[in-house]
Every structure is written in C-alpha cells, then in structure tokens.
C-alpha cells in the first residue's frame, strides 16, 4: 500500500463517502470549529483555505499525507476523528486489494477452466496453463513436464522463458524428476538447492506442483525466476490449483482421444467388414433390394428386376487342369476370375456367383452392356493367351451365353444362414444358352430376346443360327451368334461370309439340304475354325438322305442341359 493509496483513502472519507462527510459537517457545527485540509500537493480536500492560525500534520507511515488547518482547539477532536476514519478506510482498502487479488485468481482459474476445456491435446493445455500461470504468478521461466511410463521418459511438452538445454537437463535429472512425480506433492525449492542444481543455474527461485489425477501423477509444472525473489505459500497454492486443473483437462483429453480412437477403430472395422461383405454379396444386389447396407437386409427381402444374365464358362477346363495340382488349379481359376471381374464391373455388371470354371454375371442395364463386356472378355483372353503361349501353356477359351428377362432377387436361407439368391427362368435359359455355345462352336451366343433389346445393335456383328428348343422348354428360341469376340482372322472370315452363311441357313430351313451343304462346305473350306459352318454342313449332309419328321421346321431340339 503506497502513498497514493493512502491519499485515495483520505479523499474517500472527505469527498466520496456520504456518511463520513455528514459526520464531519455535524462535528464542525457542534464544536463550532471550522477547518480545512490540504493534501501533500497543496490541493484542497476539505473546506476553504481561510485565515487559520494553527495547523497539524496528518502523517502515515512516516510520510506527510495532508495538513489540517484550524483556529479553535476544539477542531483537534475533528482531526482525531478524521485520523480514525482514515485508519478504517485504509484498512478497508487493504482488505479490498486482497479481495481483488483473490478475485483475480478465481477469475483466472475460471478462465483457465474454460480455455483448457476447449483443448483436446496435452500440448495445448500445457501452453495455456503456463500462459495463465505467468499472468498471475510473478515468474520468468516455466516448464510443463509429463512422464511417459511406456518409454520411461520425462518429456517437456511446453515451456516459456529461456530454458537452456531443457530436454537434456530433464534427461539428466530424470531419476530426481521421476521421484518428485511419484511423490506427487508440491513445494518451493529451497534457495540453496536451486543454486546447487546445475540444471537450475539460470534461476534464483523455483517451485513445482504435481499434475495429479486421482492417485496418479502425470507430471510436474515447474516455475522459476531469474531474479532473487521468494515464492510465497499463496503462489505455490495457486500453481498447485493450475496444475490440478491442467491434469484433469489432460486426463479428459486423453480419454476423449482414446474414445475417439476407439470409435475410429470401430468404424474402420465396420468399414472393412462392409467392404468384405460387399465382395461376397455385391452392393448392386443389396441396392436392388432397396437397401443401403447389408446389415439392413433380412430373410424374405425380394425385388423383381429386368436384367441380362450372362454365363461364362472356361472351355476345355478339364484338359487345362489335368496337369495342374489342386492348388495351381485354384490359382489358375483365380487368375482367370481376376481378369474377368473388372471387365464385368466396368460395364455396369456384377458377378452374382462363381461356378468353379466359370461365373454368372448380372447386367441391370441390359444386353448392350452385357454384350460389350462379353466381347471385351474374349479380347482380354486373347491377350492373356499370348502370354500363356510364351510359357507354352494351353490357351484359355470361354463360351458365353446370355438371356434377358425378369428375375427375382432375394434373401433366402434360414434365420441363422442367409444367402443372396436369384430365382428365375431367365437364369436357367441363360445357362442353357451358354451350354449351346459349345454345341454351335460359338464364342458368344444370345437369344432373340437379348438382341431385340440392344440399344445399338450396329455396334456388333451377328449370324442368325435358327431356332432351338432347349431341354424342358416347349417354345423354341431364336439364337444369334455375336462374332466380335472371335480371333481376328476368324472374325474377318465370318464378316466376309455373313451373306453366304445366311443363304445357307435359308436353304437349310427350306429343306434344300444339298444346296445348303454345298454352301456351308464352301464357307468351312475358307476357314476351318468356323465350327458353326461345319455343324450346319454336317446337319445338312445328314438330312439329305433322312426322312424328315412331320412338321419339320429346322428347330434344333436339345435333349442335354
């Protein structure tokens, strides 16, 4: 409390406080004694500077505070009253200052709590804690240390002031610091220890408080001063409070981060399961059922869709697999599927089922994309076969058959075992058509129903192969061969002979078998890879001498699946 504060206390009773002002006026009247008071700067605080004959000095703490001027000795009673009032006011101010100091501390701690509660990492909390400590505690240096039990290290996570080689010093003092952390108490470091400790040589005073959470101590907050000061118990208490606030916040931040990581890990695990489940049950299938996730499907969910069903099958798989071990066989099939799957997906289809040496794929967008995918699969295999040829391996060929139509997609099984299933005659027909591609010697075979639904039929080239009655079906189906997946030379041959092939087929259906045989013979002679021409040549030749059934219309009746 300085001179200025004392003067303020005096002014307060003489000029501001109504009660004291009233009392002094009353006394002045009662004693009939006038007076005036001037402060040490000759500024008038009370009354008028009249012709007073006497004066007395108001001293406080050996300094002149004001001069009391009077004429009548009775006025000295008033002077004594003023001294008393001043003493009371001065004490009030002293208490006021202390209360304000405490209020500042409360306010700082309140602000600190608010600030650190927003932080979610220890470093930020430590920074804020040190910043706030400097605001309220007279200090020039600070360290925020934490003990990492896993690494058995004491780490500096925040600091202020210039702390030379702090981490090196911390490492050197590790055992002492660990002991202090273990002890978990706060203390003002005795001056002689500060002086003796080489790590504190830049300081003249130091104190520390533990970062305690329940019964554990996470670390220490250390404050120091480069000047000769003495930390007080109140300051240590304040540091302890800040350290406690910080450690709770750090613990909460850790729990938050831990919780966050757990949630992230769980989400990651769910995402992985979801990704994996998508590979087993295609997401397109789930979407077709009007569901977003596999977890939403339940037994009995179903949806009707018009799609193109494609069956693809490795030709001569038995011969290829003959020389392979079961494992190599598996690897071979995987290698094949790895090449085909992306082509299906690229063309907006999805593999519904793998069937050992082949697969069934669905194309919700219809036959245009299904046929494009089928041609691309053949071309990809042609490239693959070039690689295989270099390794003297047998070429891989596939037969593709497709049908377009409605089918039911649904979840079947029982409450403990579910599976995605499709049930439809379209699927059976597509499988039969694929089987027929072997019989006709074609690479891609499709039904009339598929061909009619093509958005751009001109993108492809076809040969009509007549009608066929597949096993179990009464109605014949018109069949077309798509030739664009054939080897380049065979494709060229088929393109060159499309007209004569159609002519041959017309002759065949008109029962002019001899002429038909000649026509197909000519086509076959041009390229002996044309197995379809060979088939019709043989059929025509056989029928020349055979008696026809009644009502023969050239419909091929298949008795095999």
């Amino acid at each position: 409390m300085n001179h200025s504060t004392s003067l303020k206390a005096l002014k307060s009773i003489l000029q501001r406080d109504n009660a004291s002002k009233a009392l002094l006026k009353t006394l002045s009247q009662k004693f009939n004694a006038d007076f005036c008071i001037e402060d040490s700067n000759q500024l008038l605080l009370w009354g008028d500077r009249g012709a007073f004959v006497n004066s007395v000095i108001l001293e406080y703490q050996e300094a002149t505070l004001a001069t009391f001027y009077y004429s009548d000795a009775n006025a000295l009673h008033i002077f004594e009253t003023i001294k008393l009032l001043f003493q009371k006011e001065w004490e009030k101010k002293k208490i006021g200052k202390e209360v304000l100091g405490l209020y500042r501390e409360i306010n700082m701690i309140y602000g600190l709590s608010e600030m650190i509660s927003e932080k979610i990492d220890a470093e930020s909390i430590a920074e804020v804690a040190l910043q706030e400590a400097v605001q309220i505690i007279n200090t020039s240096h600070g360290l925020f240390l934490m003990y990492d039990a896993d690494k058995d290290e004491v780490l500096e996570i925040a600091q202020f002031g210039n702390n030379p080689n702090s981490q090196t010093n911390i490492d050197k003092q590790k055992e002492l610091l660990k002991e202090l952390i273990k002890k978990g108490t706060s203390a003002i470091v005795p001056k002689e220890r500060v002086v003796k400790n080489p790590a504190l040589r830049h300081l003249k005073a130091a104190m520390y408080a533990p970062l305690k959470v329940k019964h554990r101590t996470l670390g220490l907050m250390v404050l120091g001063h480069e000047d000769e000061i003495e930390y007080t118990a109140a300051e240590l208490k304040l540091l302890t409070t800040i350290a406690l606030q910080s450690s709770s916040a750090i613990e909460s931040a850790h729990l938050y981060q831990k919780g966050l990581k757990e949630v992230q890990d769980r989400e990651e695990a769910i995402r992985k399961i979801h990704d994996a489940s998508q590979k087993f049950v295609p997401s397109e299938f789930i979407k077709s059922l009007g569901k977003a996730k596999i977890t939403e499907v339940s037994l009995g969910d179903l949806a009707e869709r018009e799609v193109t069903v494609v069956f693809a099958d490795i030709r001569g798989f038995t011969s290829i697999s003959e020389g392979l071990s079961p494992k190599d066989n598996f690897l071979f099939v995987n290698g094949f599927n790895n090449r085909m799957g992306p082509i299906v997906r690229k063309n907006a289809g999805f593999i519904m089922q793998y069937l050992g040496d082949g697969f069934m794929a669905l194309f919700p967008k219809g036959p245009q994309s299904a046929l494009r995918a089928s041609v691309e699969m053949h071309k990809a295999l042609q490239e693959y076969n070039k690689e295989r040829a270099l390794k003297e391996r047998l070429p891989v060929k596939i037969g593709v058959g497709m049908q377009n139509g409605k089918l039911i997609m649904g979840i079947t099984g029982d409450s403990d075992r579910l599976d995605a299933a499709i049930i439809s005659d379209t699927v059976n027909t597509a499988a039969r058509i694929e089987g027929l591609s072997k019989h006709y010697g074609t690479s891609i075979l499709l039904t009339d129903n598929c061909k009619k639904k093509l958005e751009n039929p001109a993108d492809f080239d076809f040969r009509y192969l007549g009608a066929v009655k597949v096993k179990g079906k009464r109605k014949p189906i018109d069949l077309y061969e798509c030739i664009n997946g054939d080897q380049p030379k065979l494709l060229e041959h088929k393109l060159n002979t499309t007209g004569s092939f159609q002519k041959g087929l017309d002759l065949y259906l008109n029962r002019e078998f001899a002429m038909a045989a000649v026509t197909f013979q000519q086509i076959f002679k041009l390229n002996q890879q044309d197995q379809t021409a060979k088939l019709f040549l043989n059929k025509s030749a056989t029928l020349i001498t055979q008696e026809l059934e009644e009502g023969w219309k050239g419909v091929e009746s298949m008795t095999n699946k």
Partner: protein, 125 residues
C-alpha cells in the same frame, strides 16, 4: 473537465471489488462515484452526468434495466455510456438490456483487467 464514473451495485463486496479495480483511474483525474441502488443511481446520473456507468441489473427498488430505460429513453442522456453487469447464466437478458438502450454488456464474474481496459477506452474517447 473531470471525467466521472459511476459504480452501481447493491452488493457491498461487488461495489468494493469494482471500486478497487477502477481505483487507478483516480490517478488520471477520474472521479469515482458510488450508488447502492437504482434510485440513488438515477439521482446521481441526473446531477453528475457521469461519462460512464457500470450498472448492476439485479437490484432491489429499481433494477438496472429500469434505470437504463429512464436514462436513455426518458431523460435522453445518450452521452452517458452504460455498461450493464449481469451474473453469468442470465445472458438471455442481453438483448433486453440492449433494447433498453445499454451500450455494452458484461457478465459477472468479470475479468478485472478487462473491466479496467474497457473503462479506460471509453473515458478516453
């Protein structure tokens, strides 16, 4: 001309805290005035026309809102800068206070340093 600052709060310890906080202004010649309730505050404002008033909202007799309304809307003393003081949690009154013509709003517990800075800024302008 002497600048005047009026502190209005019915709680003696809050009055003392604000007075202590703003005491340094006296060194710059600012006169600190004190009122213990709304009625006294209104009388001092009319008589002394302080430049700045720290006015508590929750007071018996006449609350801070009423004082503010009378000063700003009835007496048209727009030059008197009024800062309303309200306990934290009563922020809902904020808009009401501003509607009554208050210039600024501060919540208790107030930050002493912030209060002094604000007072200095307002008195210097």
């Amino acid at each position: 001309m002497t600048k005047k600052l009026l502190i209005v709060d019915d709680e003696p310890h809050i009055r003392m805290l604000i007075e202590q906080t703003l005491e340094d202004l006296e060194d710059d010649g600012v006169e600190l005035l004190i009122a213990e309730n709304g009625e006294e505050a209104l009388r001092i404002i009319q008589e002394e026309k302080p430049n700045l008033v720290f006015l508590d909202v929750m007071m018996p007799k006449m609350n801070g809102m009423e004082v503010c309304y009378k000063v700003k809307k009835e007496l048209n003393l727009s030059e008197v800068y009024i800062i309303l003081l309200t306990a934290k949690g009563q922020e809902v009154d904020r808009q009401k206070g501003l509607d009554m013509g208050a210039n600024k709003y501060m919540t208790k517990p107030f930050d002493p340093d912030e209060m002094l800075t604000i007072a200095k800024d307002i008195l210097n302008n």
